[in-house]
Symmetry: C2
Subunit: 203 residues, 2 copies
């Protein structure tokens, strides 16, 4: 049922078109921001007509739900795999790899749009909540059944906020690494390693 081969031709075409629209929407958000991410512009970039957009999504808010989930998925590609340690340093490196991707700007744009537009806000609420879980320290640092120490959680949240700051800086500057980005990463790394070593000694 969920196999590609088991999909009808119509279902495959639908999925392909929706992917075109979702990718175009993200492209648009990254390129020109939310205010210029209009239905016509998305369709132009997707190479489809507005009829297709209207057929698959009642309004842009619906499309943005798919787009946000897709963006979160893209940021997940550097996943917490086996080679990434389940500690604060791993949390830092993983988060850094995420916020420095261009899709992060699309996410920020949708965060703000969600706050600025009530309709978008209500429709995106679930996707945003699900996405926030990706940053949850417990997911990254915590052991499968164990909880994380409050000190570790606080450090991870601090790392998270600093990474969001760096990501926003990149999104705004447009260029790559900011001047003090390395220095900030160094401080965060020191903070993470300090917590991690203290945790090991606790056992």
């Amino acid at each position: 049922m969920s196999n590609v081969a088991s999909l009808t031709v119509n279902e495959q075409r639908s999925l392909a078109t929706r992917k075109l629209l979702v990718d175009a929407a993200l492209d648009c958000l990254v390129d020109v921001g939310f205010s210029r991410t209009t239905g016509v512009e998305i369709c132009r970039r997707a190479g489809v007509t507005r009829g297709a957009l209207n057929h698959h999504y009642a309004d842009l808010a619906e499309l943005f739900v798919d787009a946000l989930r897709s963006a979160y998925d893209m940021l997940l590609s550097p996943a917490p795999s086996g080679d990434m340690p389940h500690n604060c340093e791993g949390y830092l490196r993983l988060g850094y790899a995420r916020v420095t991707q261009p899709e992060f700007k699309a996410i920020v744009e949708l965060w703000l749009a969600s706050r600025n537009d009530a309709e978008i806000g209500s429709q995106l609420a679930h996707a945003i909540a699900d996405g926030s879980a990706l940053f949850d320290p417990v997911r990254i640092v915590g052991q499968p059944e164990g909880d994380v120490e409050p000190e570790v959680a606080a450090a991870c949240r601090t790392i998270q906020e600093a990474l969001i700051g760096l990501g926003l800086g990149r999104a705004v500057s447009g260029a790559g690494e900011m001047a003090h980005e390395r220095a900030v990463f160094g401080v965060l790394l020191e903070l993470a390693r300090g917590i991690d070593s203290r945790q090991r000694n606790d056992c």
Copy 2:
């Protein structure tokens, strides 16, 4: 010349109207974001007609320059006065007081708009650069003639990015303090005090 009394009636009226427009623009950015911050909406909130807007500003980008500078000024109201120590802890407390003000959202909106719209970007470049100086660790921590240690600068930049993250979180959530905001502040405070105490021992 710069005295209020020395201003002509016309000049006073111009200043008052421009202030109405600037305040309305900031209100609008905070309330409904950049995409809905349109000329008509600004004038509606300011209680003037579009003729007034057009008379004082050739386009919205020009108004946004004044608005951004005004927003930065508002964030400056908790200024680095005598009671705020010139160290990392002072930098943290000062920055926190700034990013938690509602005007910070308007600044973020304009940062992104500046990146998304070439015209706005070129016109806001100077104001953004001037505003970034407000976050410059040297301005807050550094002594008048002395430079700041690289370690102090790195810590301040880290604090800055984390504060921006917290500020963005507030801007997006709309509500006040986020759940982990206190915990993050605590970690940052510990970081700042660690650096400050080490600095004192260096002398």
